[in-house]
């Protein structure tokens, strides 16, 4: 079940993601990172930030909201999906209190050895529409799962 080739270029509606101090702390705990900038407002302020900040790869949380919409639209299930690469360019750190929106574009759709390669770009913006992070990724969709074997 190949993916509809006409899906390339599709832009998906912005997905919201509100960032709390608690979510940042939980994420930092889950990757075993004790950095006080992720927990202690005073420590973050000492580094020049207005509130606690998120680790660099925390951006995957708002980005996943965008992936979810795209994956659902393409009729793919996550067990078929291999994350091939991921890159983040941060225009500013994600901070507690941010009300982010992620706009996702299926930049490219290629076929390789019966699998589909999705080139995806997510633009994460802050509450005032300002650029926060650009995330680009390649997802490989394995055909084996689609055939149910």
């Amino acid at each position: 079940m190949a993916i509809d080739p006409s899906a390339a270029g599709r832009v998906y509606p912005p997905q919201p993601c509100d960032v709390s101090r608690e979510k940042i702390r939980e994420f930092a705990d889950s990757v075993g990172d004790p950095n006080p900038a992720y927990r202690d407002v005073e420590a973050a302020k000492a580094l020049g930030h207005s509130d606690i900040i998120a680790p660099p790869t925390f951006a995957m949380i708002p980005v996943l909201r965008g992936f979810d919409v795209l994956i659902d639209d393409l009729g793919v299930v996550y067990a078929q999906v291999i994350h091939a690469n991921q890159r983040f360019v941060h225009q500013r750190p994600i901070r507690a209190g941010d009300r982010l929106t992620t706009t996702t574009t299926l930049d490219t759709l290629r076929s390789r050895g019966g699998n589909d390669l999705l080139g995806i770009r997510c633009e994460v913006a802050g509450g005032a529409g300002e650029a926060v992070c650009t995330a680009t990724a390649t997802l490989l969709v394995r055909e084996v799962g689609a055939e149910g074997d």
Partner: protein, 138 residues
């Protein structure tokens, strides 16, 4: 410390099944290949594998701890070259990360090449970051 050629000291990170469950919950990535041997096997994997994003996050510690301010890690990208299989035991798997400063870009950011291995096998390749120079004296 910050000249081209400088090394970021090697770090080791232990990853167990418990860590995968915790990361799934915190990140919202509930792909069953990260917690179900049955599903992982059905899609042709040797077993439950770590979230690539967890491995990427662990390797980021090398950069954020070195930079001082985590926000100094402005760009960070990796290729997930090999799956990190996490056995269902108390030890799990050990991920080793190290880095080298390879360039000073025109915009003042330092390019860092990161090597991430399990045993002798590179699990992340093309792992590269651009970081504002550490300023431990300022």
């Amino acid at each position: 410390m910050t000249e081209v050629g400088a090394a970021l000291p090697e770090r080791q990170f232990q990853v167990t099944r418990t860590d995968l469950v915790r990361y799934a919950g915190a990140s919202g990535d509930f792909n069953p290949i990260h917690w179900s041997d049955r599903v992982a096997g059905a899609v042709g994997l040797p077993g439950v594998i770590a979230h690539g994003m967890l491995t990427m996050a662990l390797a980021a510690r090398l950069l954020t701890d070195w930079a001082g301010d985590p926000a100094a890690v402005v760009e960070y990208g990796v290729r997930f070259a090999r799956p990190v299989v996490v056995p269902d035991d108390d030890e799990g798997v050990t991920v080793t990360a190290s880095g080298t400063v390879t360039e000073l870009r025109g915009d003042g950011l330092l390019g860092v090449d990161v090597t991430v291995r399990v045993g002798e096998e590179k699990v992340l390749t093309q792992a590269r970051a651009f970081v504002r120079p550490p300023n431990h004296h300022g």
